[in-house]
Symmetry: C2
Subunit: 380 residues, 2 copies
């Protein structure tokens, strides 16, 4: 069985079924052309279908072309270290920010995992949040246009809006959306309202309705389905979204890279040695079991983790990727050689990333949104 | 049938049954003596049993005598004007603040009524909150020791704590405590956590466990029963409480003065003429229907609204009150005369109160708690 919820992704994900079940649209050639018109060359995650679905993207492009600029909203719920799977949508988000020249509101719902995990408290979670922020900043977001909002820290501008959202959502709605029951704690029950807030907070702050585009992995769609139902009732636009696949875990070509299983993920702070060991030891291969067989029959890149990482995340150059794919399929490129290409690519990326991650420490404060604390009653 | 919930008080309240049902203790002679030892003369609301019940008061007096000072916590959920019934527990709270020389944390849960009433939004509610603050300040609280906290405005110090509380409360717990069901909105479901927060927020801020005493009307007990269950699990003391009867509505000697029925209440902004008219027209009388009968049989002060207002709120002097009571019972004092005494007392009070209420406008800002906005990561 396949499960895809914001808290669990189990089994082989049938993305076509997911699109039908969720009611999300495929990113087809026509809409990709529209994006290309604005951005120039399409990002490789669009060219290769890693970002594969959307909601209301045509509408938001209409608005954009009319001069009604959108803002981007994405997020990270901190509870552990960042792995390559986390970076995927953020790398794409950064590209969107640059190409559309827009603001990004980056939410850190630091209460979410505290509410959903028994063994996590705010102290631990907020330490991870700090580490996670370094990774995000290291990706090169523009500090002038990127605002980090942290649920508990910014609750003075968020909780009131969350209450407005909550007034429109009943227990039975979250029960069916998230599978809650009578034993669910009331923080979990309320939580989705806080995830809805950044989709209209900039509209509140700027006192005008601004279209919101949310790039995210498909498992978060359920939150935003609720958000889309509620926001028009509060006078705001439905947020549009653009959604991606999960980067698969190291050990098999299905499911989602998970932070809870250490052998399943490459972390941004892994050393070159660790990366090498993990890929060599754990990365699921689509190659044949002996060199002879491989030379004769060729490998299968479609289920090969090193190839999928190159395709989805690491090798932007289509020509290079195509050559790797053909050589692998023909048997010219061996599994070990493909793994080495992947290891080198990851390590090239991570050496650079880890340097930027260090520099990011000085920059966190620049990214944290600082609303002016208004007087409760302005006229006093 | 009698209903006593935080949102509804219907019918004649059987306070003895309430004490048994809620599991609250009577303020008996022994504990009143203990209070007297600390405060000197007992407040008339204690002498006359208007404050009639408590939880853990002996414990908090033990702590107080050991030098472990308590703080007071009470609140006002703004949705309309203040009437005499609201003032009753606050007048007593002010006395407690003076006699025990302690801090008072005064919560304005400005989201509560927005979540529970269809026709209230934050704009309207927050206008009422402003008006309500004037009434509270007019009672003479010490601005140096009194901190107003407003749920949405102070959510940056409250929401995180509310999440910690919420982690310990399931839907089935609030369902049975408040009579919620599947159609209850998720803001209502979460709300009780925010009402729990001021009971330990000073302990969080001062980083030490401080005993909390909550003076409140008995209908709020259910919130604090939940709070008392949860706080020890978070490492804080159970809050103690001291609880009062409701000031009865004008028209009958039962239930609770309500803001939703204009003829049932005397508002703090009523003019002397309005007060006179309301008391003469609406105040339920325990007198006989003719003067002759009244002279012969006497009146019944126990169900007489003007007398009950004098006893519960307006006439601090026991000797004077006793004389009024005796004269009324004997028939010497007529209903109209008793009403006039009550009218004069109310108007004396209100003229003074309305003056202080005007001066309070300049003082609101002094009362609003101003935490230093800390950096998210102090070491940055």
């Amino acid at each position: 069985m396949t499960t895809v919820t914001p808290w669990e992704v189990e089994g082989k994900v049938d993305y076509d079924k997911l699109m039908r079940d969720f009611g999300i649209q495929k990113l087809d050639t026509k809409i990709l052309k529209r994006i290309e018109k604005i951005t120039g060359k399409l990002h490789f995650m669009l060219r290769r279908g890693t970002f594969f679905a959307h909601r209301d993207l045509n509408w938001i492009l209409d608005e954009y072309e009319k001069g009604n600029k959108l803002f981007l909203y994405t997020g990270r719920s901190p509870s552990g270290p960042i792995h390559l799977g986390h970076l995927l949508p953020w790398i794409f988000t950064k590209w969107l920010q640059e190409k559309f020249d827009v603001e990004l509101w980056f939410q850190f719902p630091n209460e979410e995992k505290v509410l959903f995990k028994n063994n996590l408290d705010f102290d631990k979670g907020d330490k991870w949040m700090y580490e996670n922020m370094l990774d995000i900043i290291a990706l090169g977001f523009d500090p002038k246009k990127t605002h980090f909002i942290v649920d508990t820290y910014h609750a003075d501008i968020m909780y009131k809006e969350a209450c407005m959202v909550s007034k429109k959502i009943t227990f039975s709605m979250v029960k069916s959306a998230f599978g809650f029951n009578e034993s669910t704690n009331i923080g979990q029950i309320f939580y989705t309202t806080m995830q809805a807030v950044p989709a209209f907070l900039p509209s509140v702050i700027k006192n005008k309705n601004i279209p919101c585009l949310i790039p995210h992995a498909v498992d978060q769609d359920v939150h935003f389905r609720l958000t889309r139902d509620i926001l028009p009732k509060l006078g705001y636009y439905k947020p549009a979204s653009i959604q991606c696949f999960f980067l698969p875990p190291l050990t098999k070509g299905e499911g989602k890279m998970s932070s809870s299983d250490l052998s399943n993920a490459i972390y941004t702070i892994d050393s070159p040695k660790e990366v090498e060991k993990k890929i060599k030891k754990y990365a699921f291969s689509g190659g044949m079991s002996t060199i002879e067989e491989h030379r004769k029959l060729g490998g299968n890149p479609d289920i090969d983790i090193p190839f999928l990482y190159l395709k989805m995340l690491l090798e932007e150059d289509d020509t290079k990727l195509k050559k790797i794919e053909e050589d692998y399929r023909s048997g010219k490129l061996l599994s070990g050689e493909l793994k080495q290409i992947c290891i080198d690519k990851i390590n090239d990326f991570l050496v650079e990333h880890q340097k930027k991650r260090k520099d990011a420490k000085k920059m966190i404060d620049k990214f944290i949104y600082k609303p002016e604390k208004k007087k409760l009653y302005e006229n006093l």
